[in-house]
Symmetry: C2
Subunit: 333 residues, 2 copies
């Protein structure tokens, strides 16, 4: 069968943008998303296939895209995710969009980068339920993958490091430039309404921007969930303390990006806040000690919706077929 | 957020083909796939979103594409499918590719066309586990869908008939023209090898072509599974008899299309044959009373692989987000 080389459309678009001069007009704590740069396109093309390939799971049913669905803001829009054998995941799936901007990956930051993250779910019994060895074995049984790995990495043997490297490279292309707020930052004064701008002013004066800033509007630090008042949840996750072992890090979680937050509901590590309005209310009360009025809340929500950027657009990958030698998936074992 | 109008690339390609004169050179029992024609593009664009939207399931996790995956030959490549709460499906998921050519839908033909089929899995407790009323309720809570249904159907109220009509219209675009065998049929003599051609001759002289013929290379009749010798299976499906109530229709199943059969493993209604070689061996023995030699088997398999056509290529749809009024999915109830 034919497998045309498909590159993420966003990469092509980004290449064009990079030629333009890049000067931010507004001096603001939030900065526009920069175009994707320094990408290995061959790795991206391979990584896209792997991202969509459910044969990296034991069941043959779950791919990266199952829980980080690129049709739905890079999330599954579930409180917590569904894994192998319908396992109920322990935590809300963060968006993959703009995740290359994060200081680290996972809510507790236990993976230092996208490549370190990508191997986690494959081998997690409650997620894809497979093993790295078995996943690589499946890929090695498919000649088209063997040839493509050889082209991309120049090696005869497929390794899990190459698999995760290619997936991570694809994920780096999943930036969402051109949000209305970014266009405003870049000087297009009509890109947001006065009402939305008032929301942004409130976002700054209320203190939200202390953690939600920079290119990712978050993602750059770990902060305690429940600063002024404790956050009540049945979710047992302890956050950063699980990584550092320090009691001081209990309930510290990576500050999530607010890019595309309109699309990434429900909110918080436990997915307990269904709506943006609810999330803003809780954040104001627990993190900032502020009871926002309904009008203030609505304005901030309106501002947050200006952070929805151009979603990555690309051709769905066509995956190379398994062969007689490919170990069959085992969804019901 | 932006939702650009995306049309299936295959439609555009087909429009080009339609301009060429259409004359089949070879007089053969198999005919080339004809270009997609008389399509409602607005319905296709809407239907594509719905096809990929897991919010048509109770869990918010399963879409049409979950089991009829367009990255994998329009199937899930599982023996039987995974449904709501990891329910083990009763039968192998047939490919959606070229399914508009089928005499009816489902293995037992209980749906007369694609529209009648599309409503089935949504409301099946073991598949998407939802109800038509609840699915429509979700769509009605999403303003972008409300507007698009109004544009496409000219009505204020979304109905399940419109939902299934749009999905069916999208599915009609999922044809796979330009297989090497079709190019051979159309006069390109080098499109298949002498070895593959020998396989085709065997396919005809052995009698396979009696059922697997026409544009779909199957899909046009119901035939008994186990004509010469009984087919042994643990699968309880009785086939066409479940629809007609006639004992004479027991174990009669819709003859599956062999288009893209290289991609649609495993085979048969119970998914018991893992490889094409195994499927050909069993078909020869049980349907035709023939013990094919390994060489004959290999030649027929080689021919079958020439039936892989151009896979539908299109931009992944970006789905409109839920709103505060959208009933949340219930994956774990």
């Amino acid at each position: 069968m034919k497998t045309p080389s498909l590159f993420a459309a966003s990469v092509v678009a980004a290449a064009g943008l990079a030629l333009a001069s890049w000067s931010v007009v507004a001096d603001e704590p939030i900065t526009p998303i920069r175009p994707v740069q320094e990408i290995n396109l061959a790795q991206v093309a391979l990584g896209k296939k792997l991202y969509f390939d459910p044969r990296l799971s034991k069941s043959g049913f779950i791919s990266c895209n199952s829980c980080h669905n690129l049709s739905m803001g890079g999330t599954d829009n579930l409180q917590t995710s569904i894994g192998d054998h319908w396992h109920k995941g322990p935590i809300n799936a963060p968006t993959v969009l703009n995740s290359s901007l994060n200081v680290a990956q996972f809510w507790d930051g236990r993976a230092k980068d996208l490549q370190a993250q990508a191997g986690g779910p494959i081998a997690n019994p409650g997620e894809m339920g497979f093993s790295h060895t078995l996943a690589v074995g499946v890929l090695e049984s498919i000649p088209e993958y063997v040839v493509e790995f050889k082209q991309v990495f120049g090696t005869d043997k497929i390794t899990i490091d190459e698999v995760t490297q290619a997936i991570a490279e694809f994920e780096k292309t999943l930036k969402t430039p051109n949000a209305r707020f970014d266009r405003w930052l870049l000087g297009e004064k009509d890109a947001i309404t006065p009402y939305e701008l008032a929301g942004y002013q409130l976002f700054k004066t209320s203190g939200c921007v202390a953690c939600h800033n920079g290119e990712g509007v978050g993602g750059s630090s770990f902060q305690k969930m429940g600063v002024v008042k404790p956050y009540e949840t049945h979710n047992p996750a302890v956050g950063r303390a699980a990584v550092t072992g320090k009691d001081a890090d209990r309930f510290k979680f990576k500050v999530p990006t607010l890019r595309n937050v309109e699309l990434t509901y429900p909110y918080f590590h436990d997915g307990a806040a269904r709506t943006l309005s609810e999330a803003v209310e809780i954040m104001g009360r627990l993190q900032l000690g502020k009871e926002l009025t309904p009008d203030e809340n609505a304005k901030i929500v309106a501002f947050l919706k200006t952070l929805t950027g151009d979603q990555p657009q690309f051709l769905m990958p066509i995956l190379p077929p398994s062969t007689d030698k490919t170990p069959p998936p085992k969804p019901f074992d």
